[in-house]
Symmetry: C2
Subunit: 383 residues, 2 copies
């Protein structure tokens, strides 16, 4: 499972003492090759954490031999010291494992605006390196958790090759990307440009379409590493499909574990003039706090869906809009439709279908409800 499901990778997850709780907080993933190809996608937030700035440069070379990830501190908004700390972490990994620091990606997650305890992190790198194992993927996935209630892994099998991965993220999930760290690995023999293409296609349709709370992180990082250890080069489409499957699986796990959520909301926009319109409308619905509260209260308040659609620039006529909640078309032609009492909202998954009646494009966005637990968790996080 996880990042060691594919051959050619070792991983470890240990407690370095970065978290005051003593829980695991440092993960290491090493690509033993023979290929060291890699691609990455990073947050589109313009305020980027030091490890994001570093890893963007590392990935540009198309080769990554190791990834070091820590929870317990985001190393974001930490100034020049933060960047030096990231650099020192990569150097420490490189020195310990005999690698080139320019091929060591770094990822961090936790509170913004706090420098990392390097006196704990650097020795932790040595401990993690000593613990590296071809079965260490699970422990690595555990070590990157922050407020996650469970660790998240996924795998897809090809003919003689595998794509595996791990993710962390529980809140602050929004397009571009979520507050997530994701490492995907494959033993397929795929060159960096194809990895990049497959990863961008997959994230566009998966991680970029989960929107837990509308907030965009400073640290989001998704990496895909290929070892080539299976000595198989799959058809591109087949490979891309496996990458998308793993991303989709992990994205759903992120939504399912979102902070304080009691409902997973699947928003499907249909009848859009084009895909951009469908995504814009889906995100607007996903971010409507009033609707998210209503869903929490199991109230099929379709008026709030229309109100959210009305704030977008998508092509539609208000009196042609149709909305279904759990397949009951409660709004037809912009007005009252089927009886809202027919909507059964007892289950965790709630499906909203918004028909713009303006074309044939569609998109699916996943979101969560807004709950008192979300408020509690996020009003006390740093205290």
């Amino acid at each position: 499972m996880s990042v060691t499901a594919a051959k050619g990778f070792r991983a470890a997850g240990i407690a370095a003492g970065i978290k005051e709780s003593g829980n695991p907080d440092l993960a290491l993933v090493v690509n033993d090759g023979p290929r060291l190809a890699a691609a990455g996608v990073f947050t589109s937030n313009r305020v980027k954490a030091a490890p994001v700035l570093w890893s963007e440069q590392v990935v540009k070379g198309g080769q990554v031999s190791a990834v070091v990830l820590n929870s317990g501190g985001a190393n974001a908004c930490t100034g020049p010291q933060g960047f030096q700390d990231t650099h020192a972490t990569a150097e420490k990994v490189a020195g310990t494992l005999g690698l080139n620091a320019g091929e060591v990606a770094v990822a961090s997650t936790g509170l913004i605006g706090v420098t990392l305890p390097m006196d704990k992190l650097l020795p932790g790198v040595g401990t993690a390196a000593a613990a590296l194992s071809a079965h260490g993927g699970e422990k690595a996935a555990i070590a990157i958790k922050t407020t996650d209630s469970v660790h998240k892994t996924a795998v897809a099998e090809g003919a003689g090759w595998t794509v595996g991965g791990m993710a962390k993220g529980a809140g602050m999930l929004a397009p571009g990307l979520a507050t997530m760290l994701v490492v995907l690995t494959t033993d397929a023999d795929v060159a960096a440009p194809d990895l990049d293409r497959a990863l961008r296609e997959a994230t566009r349709l998966t991680f970029d379409r989960v929107d837990s709370d509308g907030c965009m992180s400073t640290n989001d990082t998704v990496l895909l590493l290929a070892s080539g250890a299976a000595a198989v080069t799959p058809e591109y489409a087949e490979f891309a499909d496996a990458v998308r499957q793993v991303c989709d699986d992990l994205a759903r796990q992120l939504i399912g574990d979102a902070e304080g959520a009691s409902k997973d909301i699947r928003i499907e926009v249909i009848g859009a003039a084009d895909e951009d319109d469908a995504v814009e409308v889906g995100r607007s619905i996903a971010r409507n706090n009033l609707l998210k509260c209503a869903i929490h209260g199991e109230d099929p308040n379709w008026g709030r869906v229309l109100s959210a659609i009305g704030t977008t620039s998508a092509a539609f006529e208000p009196d042609r809009l149709n909305v279904a909640i759990n397949d009951v078309w409660v709004c037809k032609n912009g007005s009252v439709g089927e009886d809202r009492d027919l909507v059964d909202m007892r289950y965790r998954e709630v499906r909203i279908t918004a028909d713009l009646a303006a074309g044939s494009a569609s998109a699916v966005i996943w979101a969560n409800d807004l709950t008192a637990d979300y408020v509690h968790e996020n009003s006390a996080y740093s205290s």
Copy 2:
């Protein structure tokens, strides 16, 4: 006070039985002239309630002789029937008072997607007409409340003339405009074009800059009526200033009474390249759920401010950003600044100052914190 502070106006507020609670739910404001000049600003939501579509047309003529407002139902997303109901309401007011229906504005607030009980509303118009009084402004303000905990009125005095007003709105406050019904009156002798200009300038800087929960209503209506009864035509600047004062006063009352809020957050963006940048950044901060939760928890979590700024397209360099919370500059040059423990957040008002260090433009946006009470109130509203 309220809409009858200015001479030439009568008003009433009565219980027509639209609300099941039996609370007041119908207000009437009549302009007895000699002038009947009027201007209006309406929601920019593309899904507009029937009364908005109607009143937009009424106001285009520049003359309004009466405004009828109901709480207990928004008459939004109610199809052709909803528009007929609005039309019938205006006709009923016109017939009862001997006016032209084309000069009767209509405003509604309450649940979306429910048709109004016209069998109660139309007789209510007769009751309200019989109750009209030059001292009825307060009762009118009470009759337009929905989840408001208090009714909201304001007044500004010129030299021999007055601007007064009433507002309702407690949630769904967002730019363009808030979920608000506002009626302003003046006895100054001002023609419709100047009313329009003064009202647009005032709303741009007041109602358009309160953002309680990021949600935009289908029903927002702000009307300004001039009776000319004071027989004074003030200087334009002086008049516009009085209108802005009243709007500012009412806007602050809306934020102060926002659903479930425990904090009013004043977000001032300074050092912006232009005012548009300042407003964009202010709104992004105002809508960040994670920050709103942190403020609720009295946690000066400036990382979430930077994270919100980073999602905008405003001109700034991440490593030049400065952020103060209650005047303590907790973030300097995009990194850790003064000790966050110096920030005292015990009071209801919290001031966030975001310095983009990119110019000299600024803007102020008012927002609220996000609380469990907001979730409770909005998850149960229609049930």
